[in-house]
């Protein structure tokens, strides 16, 4: 099996979709000849032509709003928004339109579409490229939000997102695009939406994370194990909306302690919902307050501060230890 980066795995998934389903179109800003600013759509226009893979005018609301129309009229649009913060420009079309057409039309029209977008910090682009705004979308009912942490899941989740009967926001962590390689089957397979994955079993504490934070959590878990014999379970949430509540509860019921990690600011971030789920299902299992390792309630940091402000392994380790101190 070929070892692919996440960018390659997604490129491959897109190619497979374009190949096997003529209803699939791939479009967005610079996705054509340029192959996307991260080269995720590289070679696709050349291979599938300008009718299947094309550049749009620079207008996010137009990209999402017209994808809604395409989906209603029988296509399977896969739209790219160049960076997640620019998806706020199309927030209204996503939240009140794409996510609501099923309800609004009494189920007569549905919007099976995917919005792919790079997100996350650590890459040091100019401002407003890296802000983790995913919680805003996760609160929009009717929309699914997915954030893979590795190449294998990225491909499988993307296929599942295309199969899904509803709109899916597909978040690709920029730092993961090329940072690790994994064996990825060439054929089409799906990784189910709505299901978290225990990527490291453990007994003492559960660490919930998604996207690039999963690697951080794994590193922290390995280190606390080595340093202090702490057995940390790492759960990759994978789908941020709707959350896999059963998986969250099962893990905390086992370990009695939890840490939630995300790059977004703390107030109103996804960790709050994870804690609320734990409160509802597993409060009596809980031996210590759930720890949140997040960015502070500030703007996304300027490049010179990324390393200091964003969550890091040391902070995850400290949080793990705090849950065990009490």
């Amino acid at each position: 099996m070929p070892k692919l980066t996440m960018a390659q795995a997604i490129n491959n998934a897109l190619a497979v979709e374009l190949e096997h389903d003529s209803r699939v179109l791939v479009f967005g800003e610079d996705v054509g000849k340029n192959g996307g600013v991260f080269r995720v759509t590289e070679g696709l226009q050349e291979r599938f032509g300008e009718k299947r893979v094309f550049d749009t005018p620079l207008a996010e609301s137009s990209i999402v709003g017209s994808a809604v129309g395409m989906a209603i009229n029988g296509l399977r649009p896969i739209a790219e928004i160049q960076f997640l913060p620019f998806a706020l420009v199309s927030f209204n079309q996503t939240v009140t339109q794409a996510a609501r057409m099923r309800y609004r039309s009494g189920g007569v029209y549905t919007v099976p579409m995917v919005i792919r977008t790079p997100f996350g910090g650590g890459v040091r682009p100019p401002e407003m490229h890296s802000d983790s705004f995913e919680a805003m979308f996760a609160h929009a009912q009717g929309l699914k939000v997915v954030a893979p942490s590795n190449p294998y899941d990225a491909k499988g989740l993307l296929h599942a997102a295309v199969d899904d009967p509803d709109p899916v926001l597909f978040l690709e962590h920029m730092k993961l695009y090329r940072s690790l390689r994994q064996e990825v089957p060439a054929e089409r397979y799906t990784v189910p939406l709505g299901r978290a994955a225990t990527v490291r079993p453990g007994r003492d504490v559960s660490v919930f994370a998604y996207g690039a934070m999963v690697q951080l959590a794994l590193d922290a878990a390995a280190q606390v194990e080595k340093e202090s014999g702490i057995s940390a379970e790492v759960v990759d949430l994978r789908t941020l909306a709707p959350l896999d509540e059963a998986a969250i509860a099962a893990s905390v019921d086992k370990t009695g302690r939890a840490v939630v990690v995300h790059e977004a600011p703390r107030a109103g971030g996804l960790a709050a919902e994870v804690i609320a789920v734990i409160n509802e299902h597993s409060l009596y299992s809980l031996l210590a307050p759930v720890e949140r390792v997040t960015s502070p309630d500030t703007a996304f940091p300027v490049p010179k501060l990324e390393d200091i402000i964003l969550p890091n392994v040391a902070r995850v380790k400290a949080a793990i230890r705090r849950t065990l101190e009490e």
């Binding site: 749009t56 207008a59 709003g65 009912q141 509803d166 709707p242």
Partner: protein, 349 residues
């Protein structure tokens, strides 16, 4: 008539019903069908407003005065064409194939689950101008599939100020899509008059700013509307791309049943536009051509009223809105937590 980018107003019938342009080819039955829809629209608008006042209907947006524009924008579409608009296009939707029963359920506060797919009308839009981008996407799919169909979208003059409308014009031109933008310029956006909305002389000029050809049409002249739509539909079906039609009309009633237009609208305007009433004008034409008699006209009024009342009776006999449906329509694959939430609320009932 050719596609223009100036302010010449395209008319077939003068406000007093004189023929001043070339009458599009319409069979006598076709004429009567158009007229029937317009009369129906007036009855629908007046009766819905009255029902709302009686507490028997939800908030309703009047069509009164805009019957020619509404009927005209929909009348020449095939079943396979698509139509979307705002709350103001309710009548156009019925012309396109959405049953009155569906409109009643929608305005009446139920989940609008009885728009038939085959009508190809999206639920009327509340978040203004968003539907214009949906039309662009639908037209994109039509073109991609190589179909001869067209996406038609209605929008008010006020909503043209939204970014989405302007983005849609741009995308339609760039991708040369079979889409027709019909601006129902009724002079007002709730209380905001047209001149406070934009300073451009006509929306045809706006469209020209995106290289979309346009036609300014007397929207109270059903025959001009039909002629304009025929031109734009031909263009779209033959791969010619998008067209904007500005239908100059007037909202004779309130914005919605929640609005009081006496707060902001000069009464003279109402008088002026009363003299341009689209129904009176067309009736005169039909009578001049011996296509309609007074007696037939009265009969028609009675018929459409009876039709409306029968539908209302059916509407009022509907069972209560199914609660389970509310939970089943948010996602095709609802998660377990939603099933729990549903069970909880259903248990309470």
């Amino acid at each position: 008539m050719s596609l223009i980018a100036d302010d010449t107003l395209y008319q077939v019938l003068s406000p007093t019903g004189e023929v001043v342009g070339s009458v599009p080819a319409i069979a006598p039955a076709g004429h009567l069908n158009l007229y029937r829809w317009m009369v129906f629209g007036r009855v629908f608008s007046d009766r819905m407003t009255a029902l709302q006042r009686q507490g028997r209907m939800g908030t309703f947006a009047e069509v009164k005065g805009q019957e020619a524009a509404c009927v005209g924008l929909a009348a020449r579409l095939t079943e396979e064409d698509w139509l979307m608009g705002s709350y103001r296009e309710s009548l156009a939707y019925m012309v396109k194939g959405v049953p009155l029963a569906a409109q009643l359920k929608h305005w009446g506060g139920y989940i609008p689950d009885n728009y038939p797919f085959e009508a190809r009308c999206l639920p009327f839009q509340i978040v203004l101008a968003t539907q214009v981008l949906h039309a662009v996407g639908i037209a994109h799919a039509i073109k991609y599939k190589g179909e001869p169909h067209v996406a038609v979208v209605g929008i008010g003059d006020g909503a043209t100020s939204e970014g989405d409308f302007n983005e849609a014009l741009n995308a339609a031109a760039v991708f040369e899509l079979p889409v027709i933008f019909v601006v129902q310029n009724n002079g007002w956006a709730i209380s905001v008059p047209r001149h406070a909305q934009t300073r451009v002389d006509s929306f045809v000029r706006r469209a020209a700013g995106f290289a979309v050809p346009g036609l300014r049409v007397d929207g109270n002249d059903i025959l001009a509307m039909i002629g304009a739509m025929d031109t734009a539909l031909d263009r779209a079906r033959s791969g010619g791309g998008p067209t904007l039609i500005e239908a100059e009309t007037y909202r004779m009633g309130a914005h919605t049943t929640a609005d009081d237009p006496t707060r902001y609208r000069p009464p003279e305007d109402l008088e002026l536009w009363g003299r341009r009433d689209p129904i009176i004008r067309y009736r005169k034409f039909l009578m001049d051509r011996q296509l309609l008699t007074d007696l037939e006209d009265e009969q028609l009024q009675d018929d459409v009223t009876a039709e409306f009342e029968a539908a209302v009776a059916e509407f009022e006999a509907l069972p209560p809105q199914d609660v389970a449906q509310h939970f089943d329509l948010i996602l095709g694959n609802p998660p377990p937590q939603l099933a729990r939430q549903k069970a909880q609320i259903l248990n309470e009932q």
